[in-house]
């Protein structure tokens, strides 16, 4: 069964209810994934999103990729794969998403070479999973705000080993 990596946003469940709950948007597809005989696992990262590895049918993976906020990592699943075959647009989409998370261009430049011919998927995902911030609930706006102290991140390698 096919595998894929996604960058997935967190969503609010039952706005107005307390305590406020957020969930990885991949859970919207759990029923379809399970019906396929698949599974998924995630690591929460910076920018109120998660890196998610999914095993599901091609149809389900396509549906996930069409959902708002989802970004599928093209062509590659193994962390040891190099990414030299990505087009400029595909590479830009990934980099823009990492910037959107909150990492700086300086951090990216220091960690990832400009030439992705030798960069592995693992390097990119591990960079994106360098940190996450502690969420809090803002009662005035009924919003979960992710702006607290840096928190531990579940390693990408654990996620990769969990979904095979």
């Amino acid at each position: 069964m096919p595998l894929a990596w996604f960058v997935a946003p967190y969503k609010r469940r039952n706005p107005g209810e307390t305590p406020a709950q957020r969930y990885c948007s991949m859970d919207d597809f759990t029923a379809a994934i399970v019906a396929d005989g698949g599974t998924w696992d995630e690591t929460e990262v910076l920018g109120d999103c998660a890196l998610v590895k999914v095993r599901a049918s091609n149809a389900t993976l396509t549906a996930i990729n069409a959902a708002a906020g989802m970004l599928r990592i093209p062509n590659h699943v193994a962390l040891t794969d190099t990414l030299g075959d990505l087009t400029a647009n595909q590479r830009t989409a990934i980099l823009n998403r990492i910037l959107q998370m909150g990492y700086t261009q300086a951090e990216i430049d220091a960690a990832l070479p400009a030439n992705w011919a030798a960069v592995t998927l693992g390097q990119v995902l591990r960079f994106a999973a360098r940190r996450r911030l502690k969420p809090r609930y803002d009662q005035g706006t009924d919003a979960i705000v992710v702006d607290g102290p840096v928190q531990p991140v579940k390693p990408v390698d654990v996620v990769s080993a969990t979904v095979t």
Binding site: P19, E42, Q151, P152
Partner: protein, 204 residues
């Protein structure tokens, strides 16, 4: 692993009282809108959004908590490793199981909940027992539908690793609980690899 390794803390088998259910409990760890009483030998919310935590002791860091969900109404919540407890301040982990929502495991960060992984299992059934085990970074949800507790699903999270309280919550006033239990997880004994048989060859 066998679940649970700890005993029942409160059977609710006594005269009606509360909220909270007794002097061993304190209200407000989850949403704290309403309290929980003992009524007809069961735990009964006084309204929607009722909670209480076992304040007579803290447990862990490896922890268990479980309850009989005597009457399913909306959602049941079981919390463990609860610290900085208060209205909108509690941190720790919880299992959320409902009549129409199946099971979910959450990390609670000062009142903001983050679901860990996928929704799992099947919707709650009245009379079944539900439990949460937290050992190291492993959180495991258990269910006993009459044949003994069996694990339903598990997640990992390393954010909260210290001892804390355990507690329960009901999202709707129609929910009822019974036989609340839990405490510090008791690890199975490590077999002695060098043990000699009693008598016979090898005995000194």
């Amino acid at each position: 692993m066998a679940f649970p390794t700890t005993g029942i803390l409160d059977t609710a088998n006594r005269a009606d009282e509360g909220p909270p259910p007794s002097a061993n409990w304190t209200q407000v760890w989850f949403n704290g809108i309403s309290g929980i009483t003992v009524f007809s030998n069961q735990f009964k919310p006084t309204g929607a959004g009722a909670d209480a935590y076992w304040s007579a002791a803290t447990f862990g860091p490896d922890t268990e908590v479980y309850i009989t969900y005597a009457t399913v109404s909306a959602r049941l919540v079981l919390g463990g490793r609860l610290t900085t407890i208060g209205d909108g301040t509690t941190s720790g982990y919880y299992l959320d199981y409902g009549g129409a929502t199946a099971g979910r495991l959450f990390r609670l960060d000062s009142g903001a909940s983050t679901q860990l992984g996928a929704t799992f299992g099947v919707n709650a059934t009245s009379g079944d027992k539900y439990g949460l085990e937290i050992v190291g970074s492993a959180l495991t949800a258990y269910k006993d539908g009459g044949g003994g507790f069996a694990s339903v699903d598990s997640r990992t999270d390393t954010t909260y690793a210290t001892a804390g309280a355990i507690g329960m919550a009901f999202s709707a006033s129609g929910g009822r609980g019974d036989d609340f239990g839990g405490g510090t997880y008791v690890a199975p004994p490590t077999p002695n690899a060098y043990a000699f048989p009693v008598g016979g060859r090898g005995a000194c």
